[in-house]
């Protein structure tokens, strides 16, 4: 039986996390801040993370263009305990990834880009 789009998206997110153990959690969110698919830890409030991801990406896009940096590629937040990285998935969605603090970012970025391309086809 064919899997639903959400199931396929979740499968792709799990793939991403399996292939890059530095990635601890991930989610796909619509640009207006609603969850589409997630592989987040149970203690994370999905709805809030979704809304924040959409707000952050949209501000990122505005500041990149306002300051002449062109089309936004990704938003990258570094905290004492790790990273939050946001990238757009086509025109409609955002991929949000949580990574460990000692993550190999080159690999994380590469795998995120590939996942975003695949997810874009599913949306």
């Amino acid at each position: 039986m064919a899997r639903s789009r959400t199931e396929q998206m979740i499968a792709r997110l799990k793939d991403l996390q399996m292939g890059t153990p530095d990635i601890e959690a991930s989610a796909v969110v619509s640009v207006d801040g609603l969850i589409m698919a997630s592989a987040l830890p149970p203690d994370v409030e999905e709805d809030r993370v979704s809304a924040m991801s959409a707000a952050m990406l949209s501000l990122g896009e505005r500041i990149a263009s306002e300051l002449g940096r062109g089309v936004l590629d990704q938003v990258y937040v570094r905290g004492a305990n790790g990273y939050v990285i946001l990238a757009s998935v086509g025109e409609e969605a955002v991929l949000t990834v949580l990574a460990r603090k000692d993550a190999k970012l080159g690999l994380v970025f590469l795998d995120m880009r590939r996942a975003a391309e695949d997810l874009g086809r599913l949306i």
Binding site: V31, D32, G33, R48, A55, L59
Partner: protein, 176 residues
């Protein structure tokens, strides 16, 4: 020169972005995104982070306007945007009574952030089904000493009047 930060808030689709666009002298910094949820498709796009506009009142006074998202899931932005505000406007969609309760809730949330002056603006008064401002005062249980002003957010003069009323209230409170 003095700058005054004002926050423009209110429920989903009450006209906050339009309000700021009507009066801002700079290109408004907007963060509108396509609405994906088909049940709330009263319009095509909605604000997900903030709007920002500016209006010079005279040589000594500039207003900075910060518009909030209306939907509750973005309420983390409300608190961020309310920091340092000297007053706020609660916009009410006068043609949709089902949003009045939410408008009242938002009003209370913002009063909780800071004890700054505020005004309530009964927007969309140009539409036939609009509740008159006096009826809205009763429905929303707005205190008699709070200004409740009729408003048409697409009309620059109407927006200007609301902002000046808030400004006067701020100045009066400051001189008390």
């Amino acid at each position: 020169m003095q700058t005054v930060k004002m926050v423009i808030t209110g429920p989903f689709n009450s006209g906050k972005t339009e309000f700021i666009r009507s009066i801002s002298e700079i290109d408004v910094v907007s963060t509108e995104r396509k609405i994906s949820d088909p049940t709330s498709r009263q319009k095509k796009e909605t604000t997900v982070a903030m709007d920002f506009g500016r209006i010079t009142v005279d040589n000594d006074l500039v207003l900075y306007l910060f518009g909030t998202p209306g939907q509750k899931r973005f309420d983390f932005m409300w608190e961020i945007l309310s920091e340092g505000m000297l007053g706020f406007v609660v916009l009410v969609d006068s043609v949709r009574p089902e949003t009045f309760r939410e408008a009242r809730r938002i009003l209370d949330v913002f009063r909780g952030y800071a004890t700054t002056p505020y005004v309530v603006a009964a927007n969309k008064q140009d539409l036939e089904d609009a509740w008159p401002a006096d009826d809205l005062r009763i429905a929303l249980k707005v205190d008699p000493n709070i200004k409740l002003l009729p408003c048409v957010a697409t009309n620059k003069e109407s927006v200007k009047r609301v902002l000046l009323e808030l400004l006067y209230t701020i100045l009066e409170t400051a001189s008390d």
